[in-house]
Symmetry: C2
Subunit: 525 residues, 2 copies
């Protein structure tokens, strides 16, 4: 469990040859050893070549083998103990309690995908038996299963150094699907990445899998990421990060001789709609919940509620007043990186300099470097509709209240929104009719719609959607959290008139995997 600063290319730890990164403790602004030298183009190629060499064998491991591998990764991560939590705390400024919870979530996520792999529903087996007597032409025997797309490039996210990084949701779902993974570590937590990477590499070895199933690369600029996405052996990309970063990868992926899918989770301001009856009855409670969600983790969540929309009037004013009281008591919190902290200041500065946005409240001042001071602003719907800058994401604990003249204006603001990860409704029984008129719009705008809750806190389960229309993600057809994430890394193949001896087990006539197939148009019981 020693940090070496080395790349992991399959089972080999190799020192990079390009410009190095080092982590910075954002709470103290001091650099952390060791240096992580970036991968050369050749080293990127080595990792992809190993992944390619591993692919055909890995994708045909049994469901049990693959599930056991995912569980072994979880065990190996847990075996890292406090070393992992301490390093992640130093690299990210995130409190240890949060990191312990995130480790639990990461390991539970791996075990959830093990359950999904074993259940085998993702194979989506469809069988149409031969109809040799059919007129005018016989029907052949046709069988369909899903197969893995190929090696996947995964980009670690800064804000979930465990749950959406080296062995996070993208890696877990790609590995579950049968895809080898090459991870580009996020530059903000290379030590955490190396520790988890070593854990995954140990699991690969322990499970006797081909070494190319997993590699881990570092890089100071965008070169490593671009080289990775450009490599012809990479067949899909998982990314969580900025809109500019995600769009750049999409362009690289589209410009390849063989374009590939990119699942980039990029930006969202997560509108919250407050309806009249709820505001009247319990506006202060809603305000308290809102500020708790807004300031949680210094607001560094993709689902942070950055926009509040309601009809103006005394009830909304009471909400703003109550929220302002809460914001003013919110302690400043260390952000993940100096870069994120300065981007937050710039975003807040843009709001402060916007004549259409009125400052309502600021949190307690900074006590150290790279801290986030919570901010609440208010604007009018007309200004919001006219000024795209007011819809820009400010990553951190800043939110904007949009006061509307009428229900119709609320609807206009909803329709005006870009694609979102989430949309939230606060309502009482008396608001149901009004809420219903917004639903069709919100279904078109967001991947998840919540009632009387808060969008932060993304459950890892079957029904979760952490995705949404562009620009929330680059591909609204997928989710990056929850078990449906596996579906992103699969494609269908049909086998016609195959002798049983050539069929993969999922499709054999005796159904040895005991799958509930779609058999001649009927789902098996």
């Amino acid at each position: 469990m020693t940090l070496t600063g080395n790349l992991l290319i399959g089972q080999r730890a190799i020192t990079g040859t390009q410009a190095a990164i080092h982590a910075i403790n954002p709470a103290t602004d001091t650099p952390l050893d060791p240096l992580y030298a970036g991968a050369s183009a050749e080293q990127v190629t080595q990792a992809c070549t190993l992944a390619w060499a591993a692919f055909d064998a890995y994708r045909e491991t049994t469901l049990e083998q693959r599930a056991h591998f995912l569980e072994t990764i979880a065990e190996q991560i847990e075996a890292l103990g406090d070393t992992l939590i301490d390093r992640a705390n130093a690299e990210t400024g995130l409190p240890k309690a949060r990191l312990l919870g995130e480790r639990g979530r990461t390991c539970a996520q791996l075990r959830t995908f093990a359950r999904v792999v074993r259940a085998g529903e993702w194979l989506d087996v469809r069988v149409d038996n031969a109809l040799p007597e059919r007129q005018p032409l016989p029907r052949p025997d046709l069988r369909q299963r899903q197969v893995a797309l190929g090696p996947v490039a995964v980009f670690g996210a800064s804000n979930f150094p465990l749950a959406f990084s080296v062995a996070g949701g993208d890696s877990a779902s790609a590995l579950a699907a049968g895809c080898p993974v090459v991870v580009k570590a996020h530059g903000a937590h290379p030590g955490t990445s190396e520790l988890v990477g070593q854990a995954v590499a140990r699991a690969v070895k322990q499970c006797g899998l081909p070494e190319g199933v997993f590699s881990l690369l570092y890089g100071a600029g965008r070169e490593v990421g671009i080289a990775l996405v450009s490599d012809p052996r990479i067949k899909a990309v998982g990314f969580t990060g900025s809109r500019s970063g995600g769009l750049a990868l999409c362009q690289v992926a589209q410009a390849r001789p063989e374009p590939i899918p990119v699942y980039a989770e990029m930006s969202s301001i997560n509108p919250v709609f407050l309806f009249d009856a709820a505001l009247q009855a319990r506006g202060e409670d809603v305000a308290q919940g809102f500020v708790a969600s807004l300031t949680q983790g210094a607001g560094q969540f993709c689902t942070n509620p950055g926009l509040v929309i309601a009809r103006q009037g005394p009830a909304l004013q009471r909400f703003i007043d109550a929220a302002s009281v809460q914001v003013r008591q919110a302690p400043a919190q260390t952000m993940l990186t100096p870069g994120i902290a300065s981007a937050y200041k710039a975003g807040v500065g843009a709001l402060a300099g916007n004549a259409n946005a009125q400052a309502a409240a600021s949190g307690l001042p900074q006590q150290g470097p790279n801290q986030c001071q919570a901010q609440l602003y208010v604007t009018q719907a007309e200004a919001f509709l006219a000024d795209p800058a007011l819809q820009a994401e400010v990553f951190g604990a800043a939110s904007l209240v949009v006061a509307c003249d009428s229900d119709e204006q609320v609807r206009q603001v909803a329709e005006h929104l870009e694609g979102q990860l989430t949309a939230t409704l606060h309502l009482d029984d008396g608001d149901l009719d009004q809420a219903r008129t917004l639903l069709a719009t919100l279904e078109r705008k967001a991947g998840r719609i919540l009632v009387n809750g808060w969008p932060t806190g993304v459950e890892v389960c079957d029904a979760m959607v952490h995705g949404g229309p562009f620009p929330a993600t680059s591909d609204a057809r997928g989710t990056s959290v929850g078990t449906a994430a596996i579906l992103r890394f699969l494609r269908p193949v049909c086998y016609q008139d195959f002798p049983d001896a050539l069929l993969p087990p999922a499709l054999q006539h005796a159904n040895p995997l005991q799958l509930r197939r779609l058999l001649d148009g009927q789902r098996e019981a």
Copy 2:
């Protein structure tokens, strides 16, 4: 059932204002009335605006309403009677027997999607019930369903004037998913398109649906298609045609402020692998089946077997000789359009001029304009591996035999292939081990793999995959034929802690649609 030359913008028949197209009878090279004036940019916008206006209502029609609509379209197409068959015959040169079969397939396809819509499995309902007592945090109630992507632009294909045109597979699957459709008619069969378009419009009216559910446009150049794919209200594209056409639409779709998915089925040469034991035992029979598949419909199928790969030797030579005898007896057949006929001649000319391709046999000479004379060429694997031109699709009844030195060279040729719709194996029991070594490669290369059959003839069923890795299609994750085609036009939405009164029926607690949900991790019986 009179042909008017009008666009159908919702329920209105409107004359286009741009350059007109007219069909040409390829058997006589004579133009067919009426003229079809192209849609203006404004008319494209009108169709998209209507589609958008219809979307929210149409996607929430009941499963029964939508299924009935699809069945009504089938009835209305059947009610066109001989008018449709006669016009399609005149416009395409396809024999009436083939067109009668294709009409049957088109209507069966619509009825199959009606069954799929009613069964509701495509909703992929997932329910995770609330766990209020869970520690450290309660779990909310989470419910997921699939919703329609939005209005879809469909481009009719030339080679299936019914089954992959106005009311073909793309339209049927998009309408089944809940997406309004705006069709750009293929310029080769505008009259057939208008007749079918009128049938669909009558079904829309008869079912009381919003008129924007369906529109039909014509255009002489690429402008209408580009305007359609650029329109912000269009959310996905279905296309079957040339690689250049498909890639152009992909570029337009990617360049939009909001990029959208394009399902373009583009090009495939459908390799056929002949193994030794099968060649020895029944090479002449295989040759007969091969030439029948090659020359069927003048070779104008996406799955036409354009490539044959085998180890050289006396058995392969006997196959080539037997196939040559068949090819020499193959009558010339009228192709779909003068453009397709001249592209075929150019493709064959390129083979004839390639020093590495030896002519083995030519079919009977042309008896009329725009006819396809079947062609068989032979090359060596080394030349094939070195010359990308030998992998170019020649749309029509031309095929190239690649003779290999060794099993290893067969594998190299397979690995060298671009993405394909199909790959076919002809084998006997003694070939199983050899075939098994190729399977992993072919799974990576093709959407459908066949044993001892021929790739032409694409069954519309649950297990079909008519798709495959780039450049066979622009998106290997989908199929354009078969019931899984509906999945291309859907995205997931999650509903968190919704009161039952706000939930769509598919997600309500009482499960009124009686769906087999994924409920707390278990599939309902």
